[in-house]
Symmetry: D2
Subunit: 390 residues, 4 copies
């Protein structure tokens, strides 16, 4: 990806430098009043570079010790916001993601102690894998025998909330935050591009995806995709960050293949689009270019709403977790450690499907793992037959 | 699909005749002791015809009145069981679904009053659509302007549970059944191929998918797919039914495109496969042949773990429901009724993805709807530009 | 595929009975005056069954001797013609191929002595492979270790020529026919549905594809595809035959996987379409459903406009032949005989591409062979590394 | 694509500077003795930047006048050669193309007067279109309403011929060169990295693809693809150039979307691979990542071995030309000029297939054009029905 001769405005990220020391670049909270970093006309383009989710706290080495000290209050360093002239509340932004690329070419998939995703209780210890973007593929010395096709995309694409929407978020998430089930506003390490410090006491954390998009973590938001977001404040105020070199649906281990990256956007305005199309949460259109596996070059693991200990009623989260447990266990039969398996399932382009959600009491979640990413045959085989069966 | 000259054994279903009157054909409960209807050798093939899930209670007319009287105790009429010589507990069956086809060519997608799936509260009234299998496409006079590529597959493929497993099911589901959240054993209308009536007091209902497969309702189990199921009793005892002419992930309205159908199976045995591969729930390999839409010929709707009234913690079922609500509402902007929209989303090949499940408190479920099934343009458009934007 | 309850008119073929003994079924020459076998309205549907190209001369056994006696004057037994009410010269027929299926389920791929396609000189001896349609896959006892996904389609879909067009064909092909490079009209074994015998002295043979479609042998004409054909006579007069269970681009050995089959058509009329769209030769739209291999699960062989003996100028036919020779030779390194290899390359879904045609003097033809049809690994491997490289 | 921190050796091309002024970069003829520009170990990687085919003779403006003065003796400026330690004659190089990207982001598709490809006689006048790489899509102000997904790839990847092979080339092409049907060696503007000037009297021109690969112009050689080339001299001596931002099969107008670009290669050695696999011409494995159109989102035009004036025997080149003529004419019905249409068909990802090559005397070539690149509906429609038919 290049824009050398094409004259597109660009926010530049200095590789390795935390957001706090790149004050022109962006912010790490959602707030209506953050001043724009750049302005464009409708139909215009912009190129936004951003550090990875960790704000350069994780390093390219083989030591997971630093994972115990990642400060989540620095999340997510975002590039922007971009003010789109004329965009007004009630409009819909058609954000076309023209291109996405790695910045340094180094990515991480971390199993963070205490925050290790859907199987956190099974993985109490930290583990790190470093991945290199070698052209269109990603490889890691920590997961030999696996090649992941790069599918770069921003995990976060969002717009500023209105004051009213921000209040609604804070009100509805506060009860959960008190139980440690959500992140309350946190002034420490907040970066708001010059807003007075008191703004940080209400500015929203960027972890959950919400009505404004944000950390939707949809792997389909690659080059050529569109994200349709409602406008809540004048100019829309679009920001981008949390790039992934690749990711599975679910981002199960709490990390995709996390990297510093760059997104090239073209932003159109659909006037009055929110009412015309009844938009309450983001709509998206997937990328046209993708790794194309054979339709039957997947192995899918099922999970239901029961475990060996309990039966729940229509608990899709449990079904998803069970499918993941089955997949991790399966891969350990093929010379992968549990950490490697869990990481593979978090960074490979897995499809995590709700195959049925009405057969009470058991939803069926299927986790589809592409088998051609492996240098070995991972299909179940009869011991009677040495030949591959298709 | 034909087996006229190929000599494959076949269970024949008489079109329009309920299971109770076709005693040789099959059964409608899971129980270890149901006598086999047919026996084959490992690697052998069998062709199984079965009525639709409704056991021919629903008819090809325009009157939804009969939907108030569907008797669920007749579900699911299954063809089988098939005894595979030599298959023993601990083995894994590799069930290849060589072919699947409609039987009568008529299929139904019903919105059943009181049992209308994930949005049942929004659709209290019955509604019926009749679909015809016209070669490889499905069309309905009740949903004009929509063509669904046929993707025939059995909703139910299962093996008999052991006595011990059956007891476990009954124990764990009983508390839910008392609350109306699961189906308790029900002797009325039970068909067990000659087992004494008392067996029906413990035989499991076929609604939920479980360790034995059963009603997994995975749309990827089309021609060429494989389902790997543990063997719990001698011979495995494989049964098939609940064919769909097409289905979306989720089967959200409680009905896919339901039909009488026929499945051609080849069954191999992977000795000791359960322990070798650590199988606790079914594993599957998707079909190699599928409708191939353009990667960007989808529109995806997002749902999170909140509504306008409440915020929940990591409730993926709620997120799925919210995404579905958004999609139904969106389609009503394009001259579809809500019933049509809900039905389309239940029978079209939608992908229902858990895009992220670790960004507390909000999972993000995305419902990907293929746009080329419509005879109209359903993309969001700027009013400024009459031309299509790709 | 079924039309049992859908009331679609159907021409029935008796399996194993030559066309001459099924006089109601169809014809085997192109002529403007052949009386219609069936009439439909625009937008109407029809189901057409036909013997295979060989008119039941080839049998399911292991003996190629009969291949020396195949009488080509019986080609192609076609079902039809279908008269479409109101279709008139200058209109364009939109022939949608709703469904295609095997009839007997038995198919053949023959290497016919003296007529063995692009490599006829290399394969002077007859060889036969018998393939069974086992649901969605095709297998042959003569080519073990290979599974071909079924992609049923009619090789011949055509309309009647006008008298003037028929004269043009005869005039332009006569010089070639005199050299044995084309087939002259041949009254022997001609079937014209009651036309006086003298018609057979000018009726066109069905081997070559022409302006009327006919034997286009395009593997993309499967279920859901459209073929747009000009109307030359009142009613269009559509006929179908020469079904293939599967085929590669090129049909290199002179045989695809040849079978008796059935096509379900819906025919619309685009008034004045020939002039509106400037149609001189058929236009088609491929089938939406297809075997989906991984984009990189192919191995492609190149051929250029030179051999070891000679250099030609822009000879794409030679380049195609050279690529085929390379592919046959390559497969013989993996325990296939040359006959098996040549047959595989003729029946598997290979893509035969003109990759470049302007780099004088050498066009580059690439023959893309899907590798997942094999039970063995056919990729080139370094001897240094036992592991698969993706 | 980035290699900033990954330490991969790189040949740097100065944008806008002709090869002659970048003496370290590469060469523009094939010769066994050209000294390597860089050396790597087997399994090693290298990044090669190169000017476009025109060596920066064509400029980003709207004036085709300069096209009359393009000097073809400067073709193709190649980066390299790369010496792979230990590679020796008889080995096979497995050249994995890890990544490919634009360099300046500006590309050209030229209709060059007198050299305009397969329809040169129809396009005697020059015409130029300038394309910009906007992330993953290519757009041109000269062809509004069309968006081409970027599919960057090198048109030329080749190895040095042996002296013996070079002699064979010169001998076999000389007779054609005398008729203007091939390019004879030409010392003018030859660049051979320091070889004495007399070498240029035998060094081969780079226009045609040959046994060493070279200008194969295969659009499937994108990121993740493999090209398997025989080694003819010690070290193999790999060179790359002639990058395309996108291309159709055929490269029919003599130009794809031509650009300066960069290829990232990993080169493995398969010892004795030429004999083991019987390799005479290059073998390749396509890229795993590609624009994925719907299987039925194509319109295909047919061409046969006849024109309105003549009937030829099995002339695939003529059939290809006829299919192209039909496609150009068709697109002019949708508000494109003939120049625009011809260019679209040369740069869009069209599939140019030999659908059948054995139905004498007429091969059938089908040109499959993706329809979703257009902002307008280009399907044939009945005038009776305003709605889109899928």
């Amino acid at each position: 990806m290049t824009s050398r001769d094409l004259g597109v405005p660009r926010l530049i990220c200095q590789i390795g430098v935390p957001l706090a020391e790149q004050s022109a670049l962006g912010h790490n909270r959602w707030h209506p009043d953050i001043p724009p970093a750049i302005e464009i006309d409708p139909g215009g383009e912009v190129i936004l570079e951003a550090p990875g989710y960790d704000d350069y706290q994780v390093h390219d080495d083989d030591d997971p010790a630093e994972l115990h000290h990642v400060d989540f209050t620095r999340m997510h360093p975002l590039a922007g916001p971009v003010h789109v002239h004329g965009a007004k509340p009630g409009d819909l932004l058609d954000i076309e993601i023209l291109g996405v690329e790695p910045l340094s070419g180094v990515a991480f998939s971390n199993i963070l102690p205490g925050t290790a995703g859907i199987l956190a209780d099974e993985f109490p210890t930290g583990w790190k894998s470093v991945w290199y973007a070698r052209g269109s593929i990603a490889e890691s010395r920590h997961v030999p025998g696996v090649r992941i096709p790069a599918q770069p995309h921003p995990g976060v694409v969002g717009v500023a909330p209105s004051h009213e929407l921000l209040e609604r978020w804070n009100a509805r998430e506060a009860p959960l935050a008190e139980n440690g089930q959500a992140f309350a506003p946190e002034p420490r390490n907040a970066r708001l591009r010059g807003l007075p410090p008191e703004a940080a006491t209400t500015a929203a954390r960027t972890t959950p995806p919400r009505e404004n998009g944000g950390n939707v973590d949809v792997k389909h938001l690659g080059p050529g995709s569109h994200l349709y977001l409602p406008v809540f404040v004048e100019g829309g105020l679009v920001s981008v960050g949390d790039h992934h070199l690749a990711a599975g649906d679910g981002e199960c281990s709490w990390n995709a293949m996390e990297m510093d990256g760059v997104s090239w956007l073209r932003i159109n305005v659909i006037e009055d689009g929110v009412a015309r199309y009844g938009v309450k949460t983001p709509i998206l259109r997937p990328a046209p270019i993708e790794p194309r596996f054979g339709a039957d070059r997947y192995l899918a693991f099922t999970g239901f709403s029961f475990t060996e200990e309990e039966q729940r009623f229509q608990d899709t989260t449990l079904a998803a977790r069970e499918a993941m447990l089955r997949a991790v266990d399966y891969l350990t039969r093929f010379d992968f450690t549990a950490e490697q398996a869990y990481t593979i399932l978090s960074v490979a382009p897995v499809d995590y499907r709700i195959s049925v959600i009405v057969d009470i009491p058991n939803p069926c979640v299927t986790l589809h793992l592409p088998i051609d990413i492996f240098d070995r045959d991972v299909l179940p085989r009869s011991s009677r037959n040495g030949l591959r069966q298709r």
